[in-house]
Each structure stands twice: as structure tokens, then as C-alpha cells.
Symmetry: C2
Subunit: 181 residues, 2 copies
């Protein structure tokens, strides 16, 4: 479903959450909270409003959001059990149809990361490919829990921006414009 | 052409510049300068090396790089005269096949921007769509020359990252790995 900013600024809460809930994996409460910030003057303002709601939430809710993310190239992906958004994103990063030894390597790195930090490794797949996923995983395994909490939220903001770009329909050129004849 | 990081770290200068020159629109001198920073330990380090070379260049060279960028949805795009990279990026942002009045609106905004700042409006197209291009153009028209110089270079860094992700081929899993049997 694509939707114009003007519609998002004027619709009821249920429509707003239906359109923007999926920007934050498994966490429609972010859109619920962001609804309070209307009206939004442009896409950046809307993105800031949603991300602000996420950043202001307690760390327990942030952790639940982080834990709603699937592993990159993980079991859920191979079983076709991702959300539509995650499925498209992992495909765009070239993370489907990998060789068994690459899958095994990524699964081991993902498992180590999850054990070390208590949440999955989160990376905006559409800004990466297999090479950069792998090097980011290796380098972020050396990071601190506090830095990884911040890194995860920063990646979630990038994911949400690209999902918003997918969802937003261009508005009218201006209030008086007519279709070209 | 896709190329592995290990190859980039070991090849001659001409091969390096042929592979990475197109990351910076019409400006192979950035890859020439970045070559001096080898070896690079991962894609991020390589990207930082190239962007560092761009940031250290004088503002005259930076302006030449900025001016090498085509207008978004501009005349060159409609005439099929973009670089291969720009052409794919503008298509990904949904900036082809626009209605005549939308083209006219963007051309007017692009022309005003270019007149005001002395270089074209630069935005990483793959992180945007028509709606967000239009609102970014309108809002950045209100910006200062110094901020727009910085914004342009920041967008060029994002464009270069995504072009690098397209170019980088995954390296071997590790030094001892063999293809799965």
C-alpha cells in the first residue's frame, strides 16, 4: 500500500498505523506513538517523529524491537518466514541462495553476536552486500554492549527510512496543479 | 565489473582506478588519491579512505566533482546521456517517465538551486523517491552555501558507498575454505 503524506496527516489512527507500522519490524507501537506528532511537513519530519518515538521509549521496548529482527541470511529467511519487507531487503543484499559454507559462517557469527549482546545483529541490508555484512558482523562483534545498542537503533532508523521511501506516494505538484493534457 | 577487496589491495594503480573511479561521478582523481591509502582492511575502511581523499582535496576540486553530477530528472536523463551508474540510480528513485508538469517543476527547482549555489542539487537517489527528492530540494533551497557544500559532499559519500557495494565481490570465507562439495 502506498500513501501520500497529506493522507497520513489527515487519516485516523488505525490507517496511520496500518501504513507505517511495518517500518519498524514487528513493532507497530512506534507508529502508534509517532501518530501524536502530526502533522508532518515532509518525509524527513515524519521519519524524525517516528525515530524520536523509538528513541524516547524505554530500553525494554527498544530491546523488544531489536529482538523482533530476523538474522540476516538466517533460518527464517531460508524457510520463507520473513515479513514481506525483510524478505525483499535480504534479497536486495544478495543474501539468498548462498553457498552452504557461507550460510554456516554467517549463522555462527550471528549466534555469537546474539549470545554476546542479547539481541540479533541488525544491519540495513539494502545498504550492504554479502562482503560488507560479513565485515560489519566481524567488526561489531568487537564492540561494547552500549555501542551495539546505539548501532542497532541507528540501523533500524536507516531501515525505517528506506521502508518509508517505499511507502510514500508523491503528493500533488502544488495545490492548483492539474494532470497534463 | 565486480572485484574483491583482496584484488583491490594487490592490483596496480590502473586497475584500482578503473574499478573505483566511477564511484565519484566524472572524477577518477578521487580513486587515484585513495590508492595511496592501501591496504584497506574492509569495505568501510576503503570507503573512508576514498572519502578522506575527497574531503582533503581543495574546494576547487570538490566543486568540479559536484559540478560533474547531472540534475535529478534533468535533460541528460531524458536524453539517455547519464553515466551507467547515474542512470540506474535515477531509475531506482522512480525519476524516469515522470509527467511533464512534474519534470517542469523539478527543472525549475534544480535551476534555482544551481543559480543560488553554483553547483547542481546532489542527493543520493537510491535513498529517495519523487516525494522525498522534491521536499529535499525545496528545503535545501533555504540552506546556506556552506551547509550546501557540506550536504553535497555528504550525499556524494552515500552515493559512493552504494556504488562500492555494487562493485565489491565477496572474498573467500576464510583463507582455508574450499567450495562446498
Amino acid at each position: 500500500m502506498r500513501i501520500a503524506l497529506a493522507t497520513l496527516n489527515g487519516c485516523d489512527r488505525a490507517t496511520f498505523v496500518a501504513a507505517l507500522g511495518p517500518l519498524f519490524e514487528g513493532s507497530p507501537w512506534v507508529a502508534e506513538a509517532g501518530f501524536e506528532g502530526r502533522p508532518f511537513r515532509d518525509a524527513h519530519h515524519l521519519h524524525q517523529g517516528l525515530c524520536g518515538a523509538m528513541q524516547r521509549a524505554g530500553s525494554e521496548r527498544q530491546l523488544a524491537l531489536m529482538r523482533a529482527h530476523p538474522d540476516l541470511a538466517g533460518r527464517l529467511a531460508r524457510q520463507g518466514q520473513l515479513t514481506a519487507e525483510s524478505s525483499r531487503e535480504q534479497a536486495a543484499a544478495g543474501l539468498v541462495g548462498l553457498a552452504p559454507e557461507v550460510i554456516a559462517e554467517l549463522e555462527a557469527l550471528n549466534a555469537t553476536y546474539r549470545q554476546r549482546f542479547g539481541f540479533p545483529f541488525i544491519l540495513c541490508a539494502r545498504l550492504n552486500n554479502l562482503e560488507t555484512v560479513r565485515s560489519a558482523l566481524r567488526s561489531r562483534l568487537e564492540s561494547t554492549p552500549e555501542a551495539e545498542h546505539r548501532n542497532a537503533l541507528a540501523e533500524i532508523e536507516k531501515i525505517a527510512w528506506l521502508r518509508l521511501v517505499d511507502v510514500l506516494e508523491p503528493g500533488a505538484t502544488d495545490e492548483t496543479s492539474e494532470p497534463a493534457s
